[in-house]
């Protein structure tokens, strides 16, 4: 019987060998084709992540200067201005470094002192609805004003800001916003602000006349609006991932020519599929701009950081919100504030989903820099498999490698307003 089998096989051995070779070639090709073959549904999701789906910069109705190039030029200077600090050493750029994708490399940012949270990435920030990790501002211009009066960050006051503007930026300011008064110590105190953490500055603020306070607030707000006009131009450029999207949408599938290698492509497949990363990291900036408590360990000693829960009343009561007197928006143009979810309990320890564009370029990670590397982040998510909000499937080590590779493919150069550009 055995003999018979061998005998019958032998004449076809050569053919079999040939078949195997041909099979190998075909399966190799099939593999590469499979690798870059996506269902219509997957293609739709992938297209929605592409930078081409981003659309023009959203209008900020609360800031009528947001697309004014002169305001952006002034805002850029203010962004890098060290004078806006208690020690003349801290500018916005201290924690939002141009050479570090407009954030910094510290777990907890350091201005005048160490803050309780990490610096936020600024790329594509104009597309957000809420600002800061907890969304305690509803516009980029009001966000820009927060750190100036924060003791741990710039550590000065709005009156001091007005002094600095009038001394160093009078011409540019007046061209945009009209005449500035003279700031002299006899008429305006240097350190006055409506702060609850600085009784002297608060007292000085209260002793000013309502007209004086209005003058200072206007200057302070215009300063914020100028900085916002600059910051909103900080944008990511097409990444290897975006080039890959173009390729698959045009039907290209030759492995050697694709913008993503095999690991990166496998990572993308996990990202939009099994690992469900797009639950929160969706849209062209890979964020839903919403707030989630993902169960991170508390980094700073002392009171737990309540995150969004504490920010809801802050943004609602802010004099600089979209519905306030310094906003240029019609009340109808403030839907986020109008429909804000005030279920405070739902947001205890919740922080904003950050963009993943250029994420590989800016360790450490999470709102208080709890995790040092992308790998740690992926490991953390894998460890949270029981959390329905974070169920990322049972990912293998190999799959974590692939996801990590994909995240690296989201890096791109960054552009921002240049004085000579339009």
């Amino acid at each position: 019987m055995q003999n018979y089998l061998i005998r019958t096989i032998r004449p076809t051995a050569a053919a079999s060998f040939l078949l195997i070779i041909v099979g190998l070639i075909f399966s190799g090709q099939a593999l590469s084709m499979d690798q870059h073959t996506w269902s219509e549904q997957e293609k739709a999701i992938i297209r929605s992540l592409s930078i081409e789906a981003l659309g023009p910069l959203p209008v900020d109705p609360s800031n009528r200067y947001s697309d004014n190039p002169q305001a952006a030029a002034l805002g850029k200077k203010l962004f890098f201005e060290d004078h806006f600090s208690g020690n003349m050493k801290v500018s916005c750029a201290t924690c939002h470094r141009e050479d570090y994708t407009f954030t910094d490399n510290l777990p907890l940012s350091h201005g005048m002192d160490t803050t309780p949270r990490r610096s936020m990435p600024l790329i594509g920030v104009a597309y957000n609805s809420w600002f800061f990790w907890d969304g305690r501002s509803d516009s980029l211009w009001s966000q820009a004003l927060g750190p100036i009066e924060n003791k741990l960050e710039h550590g000065i006051s709005r009156t001091m800001s007005a002094y600095i503007i009038s001394k160093f930026y009078r011409k540019e300011y007046e061209e945009l916003f009209g005449p500035l008064p003279d700031f002299m110590e006899e008429t305006f105190p240097q350190h006055a602000r409506p702060a609850l953490d600085d009784p002297d500055a608060l007292k000085a603020w209260v002793l000013m006349t309502p007209e004086q306070r209005e003058v200072v607030n206007r200057i302070y707000v215009n300063m914020g609006k100028s900085i916002a006009a600059f910051v909103r131009t900080i944008m990511p450029q097409p990444s290897p991932f975006d080039r890959y999207v173009k390729q698959i949408l045009s039907g290209e599938n030759i492995s050697s020519r694709m913008a993503l290698n095999n690991d990166e492509t496998a990572g993308l497949r996990l990202f939009v599929g099994k690992a469900k990363c797009t639950n929160c990291h969706n849209g062209p900036l890979f964020t839903n701009s919403d707030f989630h408590n993902i169960g991170l360990p508390q980094k700073v000693k002392g009171e737990p950081d309540k995150g969004r829960a504490a920010a809801i009343t802050q943004v609602l009561s802010s004099e600089f919100n979209c519905l306030g007197q310094y906003s240029d928006a019609h009340p109808n143009e403030c839907p986020e504030l109008r429909f804000i979810d005030t279920s405070h309990k739902k947001y205890v320890g919740a922080f904003k989903t950050p963009t993943l564009r250029n994420v590989a370029e800016r360790p450490p990670y999470m709102h208080a820099g709890q995790l040092a590397t992308l790998r740690e982040v992926l490991e953390f998510y894998r460890s949270q498999a029981q959390n329905p909000e974070l169920s990322h499937g049972n990912l293998t080590d190999k799959e974590l490698d692939q996801l990590e590779a994909f995240l690296h493919a989201l890096s791109s150069p960054i552009t921002s307003f240049q004085a000579d550009s339009k």
Partner: protein
């Protein structure tokens, strides 16, 4: 189902006699009612799943039946059985039920509607809880010259649908994604439409609702609540939508809808009008 239970209860009362409080071997469970004063009294519960409480001056003991044992934000219906503290049911009592939010120091605009169903059983309709959080139901009982009150505590009222939400439920196959539905008790027909076409993720947008009654007539003066929920993740909408009556053609406008996650969402629309309330859930697949 509920009616069946009620029939069984009535039958039981007829057979056993409600005053026979020693009779406790089958069906009803005897337990200590939680009272504020001293001298807790044993009562015979008619429902296994009910909450029991002795009134403040120990005059009555109350049994409250809440579907799922938990009230939700929105419109709720409960049932209350009033017993004498010593046993025996209390028919023809005057019952007042008031929702109260102790931390906020406020109640709600909507009045509850109490209907006596006989045998000491009272249905309480239109228990409207306007937000999530800690609520109390204050129950006042007046029977003849006797008057007493009790306060039921609901420490964690959640948005509707959360008890199933936390189970991380995957979407069932062949989900009904229709945008027009009749409420389960056939009280209303509800249609929703996203103004401005297809719903886009992460965008605040508005809906238009059309509500009709069982006869197909537009309902223009309903109290409507809209609650969104994501069963796979156990959370609701990231916004608090507002509902405005258009005042004609059964139209209502819902502003402030927003979905921040792709996948299966359930939007539950509760309607209270013409002395009836009913709610209907729509499935959505957000991409």
């Amino acid at each position: 189902m509920k009616r069946g239970l009620f029939v069984i209860v009535v039958l039981f009362l007829l057979l056993a006699g409600c005053a026979a409080k020693e009779e406790q071997t089958s069906g009803p469970i005897e337990e200590m009612a939680e009272g504020h004063g001293h001298g807790d009294v044993k009562i015979t519960k008619h429902f296994d799943e009910s909450l029991t409480l002795l009134t403040d001056n120990n005059l009555f003991s109350l049994e409250m039946v809440v579907p799922g044992k938990q009230l939700s934000m929105g419109v709720n219906t409960i049932e209350i059985i009033v017993h004498h503290a010593t046993g025996g049911d209390v028919p023809q009592a005057e019952l007042t039920v008031t929702p109260w939010m102790p931390s906020m120091g406020h109640g709600v605009m909507q009045k509850t509607v109490v209907t006596e169903r006989g045998g000491g059983l009272y249905s309480v309709n239109n228990v409207v809880l306007s937000m999530t959080g800690h609520w109390q139901l204050q129950v006042k009982v007046v029977k003849g010259d006797k008057e007493d009150t009790a306060v039921f505590e609901f420490p964690e009222v959640k948005a509707m649908g959360h008890e199933h939400a936390m189970m991380h439920a995957p979407p069932p196959k062949d989900l009904d994604y229709s945008t027009v539905k009749t409420t389960p008790n056939d009280a209303f027909n509800v249609m929703y439409k996203s103004i401005g076409g297809q719903i886009r993720m992460n965008r605040i947008h508005s809906w238009e609702l059309t509500i009709k009654d069982a006869a197909g007539q537009p309902v223009n003066d309903a109290m409507v609540t809209v609650v969104g929920d994501m069963p796979e993740h156990g959370h609701g909408l990231p916004t608090q939508p507002e509902i405005t009556k258009v005042g004609a053609d059964g139209l209502y406008r819902v502003d402030g809808m927003k979905f921040t996650m792709p996948g299966w969402w359930i939007v539950t629309i509760s309607v209270m009008a013409n002395g009836m309330h009913d709610s209907v859930s729509f499935n959505l697949n957000i991409l």
